[in-house]
Every structure is written in structure tokens, then in C-alpha cells.
């Protein structure tokens, strides 16, 4: 019991640590913009720095990964191999061709195929183990990631001038139900719900709570705070988004300008986003580029068809047949086994 309460304390510390980190960031933006009026710092310098760290950070990290070779061909196969022509092979779960691998990777990246398999095992009296389907994590994760993508792309209306038509189309689609004015974006609702679920399950499921680190809660709280400030700015405490776009265009056209009179809420939102993308290359968020490089998924199950080359394949000590025969020659001869040397 004592240990258990210690573990609970650990969870509380992790949650509080991440939550307070987010509040400190928010307070920092409020102080920086509202009190000290460092608008140029928060509106221009920090965004440029964050974008640079994000892009270079990820590229450098991927290069670091890429410098280590893939020595062995180790796909985790999840279906029938291609062997005899009359046995139907599973082209996506156990792909033997590049096309199949691309299909498998697309299913994984776009639809979280492996998470879709998720089950929940329970031990009943008997003992009897029961495995139930458990798709909530898959659903929550999928909704969350797709919402992020839609929201990110939607923001291109601030980043680009003139606005590309696909952005406008996406925006219309996202506001399809035309609820309220400004029109409610479905993605705003979905991302909030998904984040709340993902936070909830981290705390509610004892197993997940036990494995969760501060660095697991922090991105969830951070992204939630970004979503919430964004939602506040659109539906509740509106800011002058024409000026916001002027600021954004200033950044992307390298003519930075900080228009007067954009509410502090915007700077909080921007600062949180900058924090997120700065944090990205140094954290588990690297799963975004990482998923493309995972050798158990991105290799074809053709290990016996095509030789995989290991660049550092190194010589090892082997016990040669000659050494073997030298040791056992008499016994071999006595039992009638053929030998090389009499």
C-alpha cells in the first residue's frame, strides 16, 4: 500500500510538473507582451527561432538516425508470406513487394493499422483469459492526429497570400455544419475531445498511468492549451485576424512587422505553438518522422528472395569443419562416417 501511494504521488508530480510548465509558458507570454511589450520578440524573433529549430532539428535528427545502418532485414510480419503460388499471401500485412510495403506504410501512417488491432485482455476466474476488442485508443489517436493535420492546413490561410484554393475548400469542409458565427470548425471540437480522452486514459488506466512520464503529459497539455487558446480567439475573445495575417505574412516574406492592437491571447497562442515545435525534435514527438524509418514495418517480407546487405558485417570466430574433423576423426571413422582426411 505504501508503494502504491508512492506511485500515485509520482503520477501527481508528473502531471503537476507538466501542467505548471504550460502555465509558466502562458504567464511568460502575458508578461512579455502585456507588461513589458516585447511584441517584436514574441511576434517575430521567437517564431523565426522556433521554425528554424523545428526544421533543422528534425533534419539533423533524421540524419543521425540515417547514419546508423539497417544491418538486418527484420520486418514484423502480420500475415501469410508469399511462398507457393497457390497459397494466397497477404499483400499488405506481409508485403513481398515495394508496392506492398508502401501500402502497409500508408495504412500505418494514415489509419494507424496496428493500433486498430488493439485488444484488451482480462483474467477471469478459472483462470480464463478473455480478449476483447479495444478500439478507443485507435479512435482517440486517429481523431486527434487527423484534427491536427486539418487545423494545421487550415492555418495556411494566414500563412499564404493569395490563399490556395485547397485551403479554402478544407476550411469550408471543416465548417460544413455552419453552426454559429464565426462558423464552428468540427476539427476544433474533435481535437479537444480527443485530447481530453487521451489525458483521461493516461490517468485513469492504472497501467498507463504507471508508465507515463512528465514528458508524456506535457505535450498533451501543451497541445490542449494551444487548441483552447485558438478556440477562445475564434469564438469568445476574438482578435483582429487581419492584423494576425499581416504579422504572419511579414514573417514568411521576410518583412517582419508587428501590427498594433493584436490581443495578447494571440501571442499566448503563438508562443505555445513555438514551444511545441521547438520541443518537437528533442522529444517523443519524433515519432512523426520516425515512423517512416521503422525497420519492422518499412521492409518487405522477401528476406529469402533478396539478399540484404549489412555494411558492417564483420568476421567472427567459426569452428570450421576441419577443426571439427580433427577433433572427432577417430570417432567418425569408428562409426563409419566418411571423413576428409584419413
Amino acid at each position: 500500500m505504501e508503494h502504491w501511494s508512492l506511485a500515485k504521488k509520482g503520477t501527481l508530480i508528473n502531471v503537476l510538473f507538466s501542467l505548471s510548465a504550460v502555465f509558466i509558458l502562458i504567464a511568460g507570454a502575458i508578461v512579455g507582451v502585456d507588461l513589458i511589450k516585447f511584441n517584436f520578440l514574441f511576434g517575430v524573433i521567437i517564431p523565426y527561432t522556433a521554425i528554424t529549430i523545428f526544421i533543422l532539428g528534425i533534419i539533423l535528427q533524421v540524419i543521425k538516425w540515417a547514419k546508423s545502418p539497417v544491418p538486418f532485414h527484420i520486418p514484423t510480419v502480420a500475415g501469410q508470406q508469399k511462398s507457393l503460388p497457390w497459397i494466397k499471401s497477404s499483400k499488405l500485412e506481409s508485403p513481398s513487394s515495394t508496392l506492398g510495403v508502401i501500402g502497409r506504410m500508408l495504412l500505418e501512417i494514415l489509419f494507424f493499422r496496428s493500433l486498430f488491432r488493439n485488444t484488451k485482455s482480462e483474467l477471469k476466474n478459472g483462470p480464463r483469459l478473455v480478449y476483447g476488442s479495444n478500439k478507443y485508443l485507435w479512435l482517440g489517436a486517429l481523431v486527434f492526429h487527423w484534427s491536427i493535420l486539418v487545423i494545421f492546413l487550415r492555418h495556411f490561410r494566414f500563412f499564404m497570400q493569395p490563399i490556395p484554393s485547397f485551403v479554402l475548400a478544407l476550411q469550408n469542409l471543416d465548417g460544413f455544419f455552419q453552426i454559429g458565427l464565426p462558423v464552428l470548425y468540427i476539427s476544433d471540437v474533435l481535437i479537444t475531445l480527443a485530447l481530453l480522452y487521451l489525458i483521461f486514459r493516461r490517468v485513469a488506466d492504472l497501467k498507463i498511468r504507471y508508465i507515463s512520464l512528465a514528458s508524456d503529459y506535457f505535450p498533451l497539455f501543451l497541445i490542449l492549451s494551444i487548441a483552447v487558446t485558438g478556440i477562445l480567439m475564434r469564438y469568445f475573445d476574438r482578435v483582429d485576424i487581419v492584423k494576425v495575417k499581416e504579422l504572419a505574412i511579414g514573417i514568411f516574406s521576410f518583412h517582419p512587422t508587428v501590427p498594433d492592437g493584436i490581443g495578447v491571447l494571440f501571442y499566448i497562442h503563438l508562443f505555445l505553438v513555438c514551444t511545441l515545435i521547438t520541443y518537437f525534435p528533442f522529444s517523443k514527438l519524433l515519432h512523426m518522422p520516425g515512423i517512416f524509418l521503422t525497420p519492422t514495418r518499412n521492409l518487405a517480407n522477401n528476406s529469402r528472395m533478396v539478399r540484404h546487405i549489412n555494411p558492417w558485417n564483420r568476421p567472427v570466430r567459426v569452428h570450421t569443419y576441419e577443426e571439427y574433423e580433427d577433433e572427432f576423426r577417430d570417432k567418425m571413422k569408428a562409426s563409419g562416417l566418411p571423413v576428409e582426411k584419413e
Binding site: H3, P69, L286, H287
Partner: protein, 539 residues
């Protein structure tokens, strides 16, 4: 120091999935008898020229490590990060979503939170973060970092020898993070300071010297093959040839040594002998490469390569055209995913073509080694052998997919095709426990020792439970499998959790059903047990 053995119901009652330990960063573990394996014998370690041979046990307070053990491990980790992209990626991208948590048979059977694959990997990741990442340096404990201490090393030993490298978690992981890869690399690190287990390192030494795990010398090998030939004759009335080290044979046949020295593996051997004779295969056994299994693959990539090298070397010496491999799990993972890379290219061999059916095994055109189930399935499909299914009527069969076969090769339908053509009564276990979702026997990757029995029974619970289900539902009394470790360790598992279920190979079933030219009327199966009809007559 014999400790009380838990009864099945006591063991099941002790499982609780609520984590009870304090913070997992605390590395302390208790080495209780029944849940760990004994340390490697100095003789074997020395013979293999591996580091730090000494007499030691995990329960010793002092593990007699080299003075600079920490430096060795950290440098070893750095070296492996530079050589294995898999390791770098798996260290960096886990989001701790927990999808793997209840997929591990050891977690399901023990409830120990550090048996959740995510935490097993975190045991290493915490050290990686501490010494190799910015986040670890900036945020310390909050980033889940901790320093490598002797307690961490002992914890590694405890938990990385409670993983059978079955890769079930990897199927469910959204990034395919492969705990088997992490486990193998940590075992490599441990081996650098002489921390390994005897049940692995001694078979490796034996295999290195004599060609097989059991240390059987060439004449002993020949004796047991000859004995099997005699035994087969007494059952079938047919005298078969079993050539050994025959130069110029068309095919080299390599199977795990347990097949000719263990029970129930032995009945599978009888099946092979009968089959090869019946189709008139020009093949040979090898006493030098008399082991399919590769316990080296449970310690390090280098030892895996050392042992595996014998297969191609012997194929070359004997001048065969290609190789058939027998029923084995991890052997096939090595053959399928590693052999060609490690010891190829096998340009002295030919692309395998079945001399009986003319089928070209395109799927093996580079490695040139065909799985016996692929080979036999092709024979049956082409009507080259006659099978009397009723000779297996005394069996109600279910099939256990070996982990490495299902998730390493994807060889899923071939053995089922063999069973369905050799038996009338075949029943699948529930979907979540077969094919790519198959559960490990709980004793793979070198953990199948008697001293580790409690952990084996825990880890085997999910598999046993699924067998129990089909036993109660369909009256299953025979668990078929194509893995030597399964054949050795599933029988005690069945006795413990299920009862009344025999374990055997698929080629034993094929051998039972195989109608041989000139055979006498069979009254027993290859085990000498009466056939269904005869049983009735006897009553």
C-alpha cells in the same frame, strides 16, 4: 533450497494487473527461485572466448564484474546505436501509448508492470536518455532518465531474461517497436561484462564444438539416427536410408538436434525419415551442421553468425544443390531474416527446385533454404504422396503458431494445409491467440529451464488457456506445432494448466498418415500408441 511450488490456482490467484511497485525508475529486484535462470558456466564462456568467465549466480551479492563494467556497457551501447538504426529509432520514438502493455504473455501471466513491453524497453531507454539525449541532461528524472548502476544492471538481467523475443508486442505497436531487438541488444551488452545464463551459453558452446546444443558427438549423432531408422522399420515395416555427411547429395537437411534426441520431437524425426524415403529424396544429414537451432541468436549477433556459418559451410563442403530446414522456430527466424546477410551470398547453391514436383521455390531464390512445411505442402498439392487421414483419428488437433514462424516468416497456411490433409479433426484456437497474434510457449529465447519453471508457467498461461478452451469445446487432445522449443516446453505447460493434451510436430502427423509403399498394416502411430480403429477392437 527448494521453495514451495505454486499450484495452478494459486499462481492464477497471484496475478494482479494493478501496478503495486513504486515508481518504475527504482531498479530493485528480488531474485526468487523459479523466476530466473542460473548464470553461465565459466567453462562455456571461456570456450567461446566471451568476456569475464567466472563462477557466479544471480543471487550472489557480488556479480564479480570487471572494474570498468559501466564504461564497457555505455561504450557498448554507443557502438550499437551507431550500428543499429532499429535501436536508435526504438529508443527515440516510443510515445508510451501502452498498446503493447497487455500483449506480453509474461505481463499477462505475472502482472509485473516491468513485463509490459513498453517498460521493458524503458529500462534501457532511461539509461539512453540519461547519457545520450539533451532532454535527459536538461530534465533528469522528469524525462524518465536514471543513471546506470549495478542495480539497474541486475534489473536488466532479470527482465531481459524474462522476454522470449516473441515479437507479439511489435505487431500491436503503432511504430512496430520490436522488443526482441531491444532484448537481444541488451543481452549483448550484458554479455560484454560476462552476464549471461547457462542454458544459453552452454548450448552455444556445445553447438560451436560438436555442431549441436546437446554436445552430441558424431558417432552419437549417427547412433540416434540409426536407432530411429530401426524404430521406424518396426512401426511401418519399411527400412529407410538416412545418409549422413554424404557428398554430392542433392539436398542437405538440417533440423534442431532435439528432433533426434528429445521427446516428442523424435516422432517428428520419424515422420521426416518416412517422408524422405517415400518420395525417394536424394538428401543427406550432416553431423557437423547437426543443429538447426541457434542459441547464439539469444546472446549476440556475433554468436548467431558463428553458429549459423556452419549451414552454408557444410552445404558447400558436401556440394549439395540446396537446403531443407526442419521444424523449428528461432532457427527459422535466423535462416529467414539473418542467414543470407550474415553468411551469404550462397552463390555456390542453386535456386531450390523440388526434384519430385519440379516446383521452383522462388521465395527462397537468394537464401536457397526451403522450410520443410513449404516442401511438403508442395508435395501434397501435386499429389505426390498418399495420406490416410484416419490414422490420426485418435487425435483431435489444434495448431500452435510458433512466434518466429508466424511473425518472422509469415508461414501460416502451409502447416495448416499439412494438418488438414493428414487429419480429420482439426480445430483452431481463438483468433486472438493464433497466427500473427500467437502466444509464446513462455520458454523461448533460452528461458526453458527447470529453475525458471514458475516464470515459464506464468508466461505460458495465455497459450495454455487457449488450448484449454478448445479442449473443453472440441475435445482437443493434441497440440501440433513446428518449433523444437515448443515441443520441449509445451508438454509441462499443458500438464500444469490443461492436462490430457499431447504435443507433437506436424510432420509426426504427416508421418502417421503417410501411406508407404510396401508398408505393413499399421496398428499404432509413430509413438507406438494404438490407432482409433484398433483401440475399439481392443476394447
Amino acid at each position: 533450497m527448494a521453495e514451495k511450488k505454486l499450484k495452478p490456482e494459486e499462481l492464477a490467484g497471484s496475478i494482479d494487473y494493478k501496478p503495486k511497485q513504486k515508481d518504475w525508475l527504482d531498479p530493485s529486484v528480488e531474485f526468487k527461485h523459479g523466476v530466473f535462470n542460473y548464470g553461465g558456466s565459466p567453462k562455456s564462456v571461456e570456450y567461446l572466448q566471451q568476456p569475464n568467465p567466472r563462477k557466479w549466480q544471480p543471487t550472489d551479492p557480488d556479480w564479480q564484474l570487471p572494474e570498468n563494467w559501466k564504461q564497457i556497457i555505455l561504450e557498448g551501447l554507443k557502438d550499437r546505436l551507431d550500428r543499429f538504426r532499429s535501436l536508435r529509432i526504438f529508443m527515440d520514438i516510443c510515445v508510451r501509448c501502452g498498446a503493447c502493455a497487455d500483449k506480453c504473455h509474461f505481463f499477462i501471466g505475472s502482472g509485473d508492470p516491468k513485463n509490459m513491453p513498453v517498460l521493458r524497453a524503458e529500462l534501457l531507454r532511461s539509461i539512453y536518455r540519461n547519457d545520450f539525449t539533451l532532454a535527459g541532461k536538461l530534465f533528469g528524472k522528469f524525462s524518465g532518465s536514471r543513471e546506470l548502476t549495478i542495480d539497474v544492471l541486475k534489473e536488466w538481467f532479470y527482465y531481459f531474461f524474462q522476454c522470449t523475443q516473441c515479437r507479439r508486442c511489435s505487431v500491436f505497436c503503432p511504430y512496430g517497436i520490436d522488443t526482441a531487438e531491444i532484448t537481444l541488444l541488451v543481452r549483448e551488452l550484458l554479455n560484454l561484462v560476462g552476464v549471461n545464463i547457462d542454458w544459453i551459453i552452454t548450448p552455444v558452446a556445445n553447438s560451436f564444438r560438436t555442431g549441436n546444443h546437446l554436445g552430441i558427438q558424431p558417432h552419437g549423432f549417427k547412433d540416434s539416427i540409426d536407432f530411429a531408422v530401426d524404430e521406424l522399420e518396426s512401426i511401418t515395416g519399411v527400412r529407410v536410408e538416412a545418409p549422413i555427411n554424404k557428398k554430392g547429395a542433392e539436398i542437405l537437411f538440417i533440423t534442431p538436434s532435439a528432433d533426434y534426441f528429445g521427446t516428442p520431437h523424435y516422432y517428428t524425426l520419424l515422420g521426416y525419415l518416412a517422408l524422405f524415403h517415400e518420395i525417394g529424396l536424394d538428401y543427406t544429414w550432416s553431423s557437423y551442421a547437426s543443429e538447426g537451432g541457434n542459441f547464439g541468436s539469444f546472446v549476440s549477433h556475433d554468436l548467431m553468425k558463428s553458429l549459423n556459418a556452419k549451414m552454408y559451410a557444410e552445404a558447400k563442403r558436401l556440394g549439395v544443390k540446396w537446403i531443407i530446414g526442419g521444424e523449428c522456430g528461432h532457427m527459422w527466424r535466423v535462416v529467414h531474416q539473418y542467414m543470407d546477410t550474415l553468411n551469404g551470398p550462397a552463390d555456390f547453391l542453386e535456386v531450390p527446385v523440388s526434384p519430385i514436383t519440379g516446383t521452383r521455390f522462388e521465395n527462397t531464390k537468394s537464401t536457397k533454404m526451403v522450410h520443410i512445411c513449404e516442401f511438403t505442402a508442395d508435395l501434397i498439392k501435386n499429389n505426390k504422396i498418399k495420406l490416410d487421414k484416419s490414422r490420426n483419428d485418435h487425435r483431435s488437433i489444434t495448431y500452435h503458431d510458433p512466434c518466429n514462424i508466424a511473425r518472422g516468416l509469415g508461414l501460416i497456411e502451409e502447416p495448416r494445409y499439412l494438418i488438414k490433409n493428414s487429419c480429420n479433426n482439426f480445430f483452431e484456437m481463438p483468433d486472438n491467440t493464433i497466427k500473427e497474434q500467437t502466444f509464446c510457449c513462455g520458454s523461448g529465447a533460452g528461458l526453458g529451464t527447470d529453475e525458471n519453471l514458475e516464470m515459464r508457467m506464468r508466461g505460458g498461461l495465455p497459450r495454455a488457456n487457449a488450448v484449454k478452451y478448445v479442449k473443453e469445446k472440441y475435445g482437443v487432445n493434441f497440440l501440433g506445432c513446428i518449433c523444437a522449443i515448443d515441443k520441449a516446453t509445451l508438454p509441462p505447460l499443458m500438464d500444469y494448466w490443461v492436462g490430457g493434451v499431447d504435443v507433437g510436430g506436424v510432420h509426426e502427423l504427416v508421418g502417421n498418415a503417410l501411406i508407404m509403399k510396401g508398408e505393413k498394416e499399421r496398428t499404432t502411430d509413430l509413438r507406438g500408441e494404438p490407432l482409433a480403429g484398433d483401440e475399439k477392437q481392443n476394447v
